[in-house]
Symmetry: C2
Subunit: 236 residues, 2 copies
């Protein structure tokens, strides 16, 4: 490649990254808005999340198309190739997160008929997974493994909170069967939030692969930390 | 590329396809086995599904690695590139389906304490989504769009059945609050099955993209049928 082509290739990779981050921004917004609609009992916001999911879907296809073009025309190697492969995986996670935010919005609409008695624990679960999403996107933007590990390590905390909330909903439904529908709605929202956190962890794991070429998918989080521990210590 | 290189490249693409189909076979087996463990109340089979999920996870990483190597060394273009990109997406769906089969097995273990009163509707939902998985894998194996469309079109039927089952579980829990835990278990198994069907549809949509270069992701199924209708009519 000559200097001009190299410059154009770098520009394309940066544009690809910017698109992924923009898509991540839309997902973040959809998740926040769906939770706000729930907290403020504002059906209009919930409808907005549902209407706008198509924009997230469209970005997935646009980014996949751009990745394909880069693979076809630039034939990237080494870390550039890992970056493009990571992008192809990451947009799948982001698209699914958009669906989950939409699911929260749809559940919000059901709460008009079946009000939830308390939503503060859902909000605090949402805060945790929104932090994870932010960490995952930051890690992707900067190729920052330390940030990726923060996201991955939060997973245990999120999962424990989710499990305890599910137990709470069960008790609540058993004590007052009239609350079964509300309990199921709350339980489904909690599950969607937990899944959003899972997808953030997937993204963070792909970032580790992108930066180091190490696979940390499907290993437990302590092993993952040990695997990439050396590099993290170098940075601190 | 000389003849020798072309031959080796073709062999590699075939090997990649075989690996995806083998992974699909493991997912099919895990799903069937988890349902059998439930029907026959055989905890041993459920444990086997849980223990063997790592083999599915390992195949995802192996196939991604092979895809990356092919992209780096062979720099495929046109339909070969679409095939490799499809593979990268498809293994993500298969891996997730393996997790869902594991989730069914974990729920089966809970039924020892909370027996489900009837599992026949779960079995018939499982039969539908196992058909979808088979259709999706066949479509991928043969690049067969007609088969892919059969899978995609089943989605409405699966979704309607799933919704009606969820309504049934709700009624059941409301009538007898002692059955809430059993109802939640049945509901969670039904959801895992429905999600397995969703992932089969994702695979079928990627097959359409692989064969024709058309995107049918995120369009409704009637539009998808219309989009690729011409090609299907040519075949019949």
């Amino acid at each position: 490649m000559n200097q001009h082509t190299i410059k154009r290739f770098e520009d394309e990779l940066n544009e690809l990254k910017d698109k992924v981050l923009a898509m991540g921004g839309l997902v973040e917004k959809a998740t926040k808005r769906s939770m706000n609609s729930l907290i403020k009992q504002d059906a209009k916001r919930a409808h907005k999340v549902i209407e706008r999911d198509h924009a997230i879907n469209a970005m997935e296809i646009e980014i996949d198309e751009m990745s394909r073009t880069i693979l076809a025309l630039r034939q990237p190697a080494a870390s550039d190739l890992r970056f493009v492969m990571t992008t192809i995986k990451v947009v799948t996670d982001l698209e699914r997160m958009g669906d989950l935010a939409e699911n929260i919005a749809e559940n919000m609409l059901k709460t008009e008929e079946h009000p939830l008695t308390q939503v503060s624990s859902l909000q605090s679960l949402a805060d945790l997974v929104l932090d994870q999403l932010k960490e995952a996107l930051d890690a992707f933007a900067k190729g920052d493994m330390a940030e990726a590990m923060i996201c991955i390590e939060s997973d245990n905390k999120v999962h424990a909170k989710y499990k305890s909330m599910q137990r709470e909903y069960l008790t609540y439904m058993m004590e007052d069967p009239r609350q079964i529908t509300a309990g199921l709605i709350a339980s489904d929202i909690a599950r969607s939030l937990e899944r959003i956190g899972d997808h953030a962890v997937n993204i963070a794991e792909m970032v580790v692969y992108m930066v180091k070429g190490h696979e940390v998918r499907h290993v437990d989080h302590d092993t993952a930390a040990a695997l990439i521990g050396g590099e993290l210590q170098d940075k601190t």
